[in-house]
Assembly symmetry: C2
Homo-oligomer: 366 residues x 2
């Protein structure tokens, strides 16, 4: 390995010491010029800046961080950057971080909790100002306990674990949280279907262990109950949050499933898959069957008919996640408390995929 400080062409890179010598000042002065946090004579400043330019000086962020300055970094851990749900949240985080003059370390777990833990560790090693965990997770007892320990460790180092769109870790854990009304959105959209007259609603759910899935299903059930509609277990079909899963589950159920006149897909991606299966089976939306999704990502507007769904303020969640723990300039007072929760609303957005019950899909077991 190349020795530290030695460049490709063998010339050492410039350091504060070099700049100081070149400008005929001390390193302290150079530091003061860079950080503008202390008075420096205009002439001196000029000279130092000229030297920096001439030597092609680039400050070493690691040295700076080691000397006790914040690394100005926030870490964000998501399943998948290409999934719009995460991408929008990531955008919010990135923008708010950039506004606070910070850079963003993005980590993708691909849904693997072990990888999630590993990334938290890596971000802790880099002394990230905050570590933001995004999206639903398995709520396994041991896992939650382990996360609690990590939260503790981060907090002890002056950083913070932020849970964005996922449940808390229990009383003790020093985490901040950004929630959205997941259950409420599911309630609202189910109620919308009910209001149109639907009674047999097929629920194409998410992975059953994910907190997000559970909350949405809970909202759905509460809505049914509120209207006194019996919850038929045959109408609840959990599965992965993927387009292909939506497609396959839907195709299967059209072929040999229970009767239904409406479909509630637990997210828009699953809805897109379901829409294709419906289309291929010649089932017209919304004339024969109504369809709704969840999240309100762009695909909802591209589907035909355009998809009625639940809007989730994804980008805002990302922004709040960083704002919650990183107040720049202002007094630290209330932010010093280790836990803080922000709760954002969701709302239904009505488009063209819902109508009163039509022919529906009838059981036609072979």
């Amino acid at each position: 390995m190349r020795r530290a400080g030695t460049s490709q062409d063998g010339r050492r890179r410039a350091t504060v010491t070099d700049v100081a010598r070149h400008a005929g000042v001390s390193t302290a002065t150079v530091s003061r010029v860079m950080n503008r946090n202390y008075p420096v004579a205009a002439a001196t400043r000029e000279r130092v800046e000229a030297s920096m330019r001439e030597l092609g000086y680039v400050v070493n962020a690691h040295a700076r961080a080691l000397a006790g300055v914040s690394a100005r970094t926030v870490g964000i851990v998501v399943n998948e950057v290409i999934d719009p749900f995460y991408a929008y949240i990531a955008r919010g985080v990135e923008r708010e971080a950039a506004a606070g003059d910070r850079l963003c370390l993005v980590c993708c777990t691909q849904g693997d909790p072990q990888r999630e833990l590993a990334f938290i560790e890596l971000l802790h090693q880099r002394r990230a100002d905050a570590v933001i965990l995004v999206g639903g997770s398995v709520q396994d007892r041991d896992y939650v306990a382990e996360l609690g320990r990590r939260a503790e460790a981060l907090h002890a180092d002056g950083s913070r674990l932020v849970l964005c769109g996922r449940p808390g870790l229990g009383e003790g854990a020093p985490t901040a949280r950004v929630e959205y009304d997941n259950e409420g959105g599911a309630f609202a959209v189910t109620d919308h279907l009910l209001t149109q007259g639907h009674r047999r609603i097929l629920y194409l759910g998410g992975p059953p262990k994910l907190s997000t899935s559970r909350d949405r299903l809970a909202g759905h059930r509460r809505a049914l109950k509120a209207r006194g509609v019996a919850a038929d277990p045959a109408l609840v079909r959990p599965g992965p949050f993927s387009r292909s899963s939506g497609y396959h589950r839907m195709a299967e159920l059209i072929d040999a499933g229970p009767d239904f006149t409406a479909v509630f897909a637990a997210n828009d991606i699953v809805a897109a898959g379901a829409a294709q299966a419906l289309e291929e089976a010649g089932v017209r939306v919304p004339r024969d069957v109504s369809l709704v999704g969840y999240d309100d990502i762009p695909v909802a507007q591209e589907l035909r008919p355009r998809l009625t769904t639940v809007h989730v303020p994804l980008e805002e969640m990302g922004r709040q996640a960083v704002r919650l723990v990183l107040a720049d300039g202002e007094e630290d007072d209330w932010r010093e408390q280790p836990t803080g929760v922000v709760r954002l609303g969701t709302h239904i957005v009505v488009r063209d995929s819902v109508a009163p019950p039509g022919n529906g899909v009838r059981a036609r077991r072979s």
Copy 2:
């Protein structure tokens, strides 16, 4: 500001020294245990590891980097994380980086070249192993020269500037490059339209100063020329790479534009907007007018009719970008050379949005 090394509860965080003392060994041994790069007696190792656990020791990546070890970080600079074009490339970068045990700093410029420069600087300060610039850019002379200087500076510090899907910086610049056959894809898809019998093809281009736009337009023109079809300037309409721009430009041209029987949108997003305008105007695709896009991002499969487009190996571009400059383990031989280029192919993917010329859209100026 809280003093470095002092945690929330006032207890100092553990350092190698603490671990060493606790385990009754020297700091060197602790380091050797962590890095597994040197023999350590099994018993000693156990003891050290126990101490690390007990003290909740988390290595400080900055101290490590300062001591001369790579920061194991790659920087990626994109326009926008929620744009699938960039998101897929970012995914490739992230995965390849993770495979090489590195973390990924993601920066969004929102299309602003100044911000791009600022991010390059920030990534240099953090001593990223590589800085990957993604997507087309303005090829303004001064700007290219400035980028060249940054490439030089990075290279002098043992890092590398990688241009991913954008033109080189000229002979001298020590950059690596990942290209894709942008011009060729545009040629192929135009030729496809021509083969179907189209002669009046409306070209809904990208921003005229972007290299990506230029290359695509060039391919389009070459295809026309190859078939001896005159290039009508009225049929070339540049504009932003956005859905709304596609929508508005299309609507306007339907209303009061030149005749055409096919539309080539310079990317799928623009195509999605155009498709909506066509739909609203009652122009049927592909019966009345054929439509093609570029990039082959997921929306192409959601549109109805499904969009014929040009596939670009986005994720692979991202992977290659990091692979090109960061070979782990293997000999450095050929990678030592400051410049390297990888060129990836593109290919047309035929779906349902193209047919022989139909009624087309006729000029009906008000």
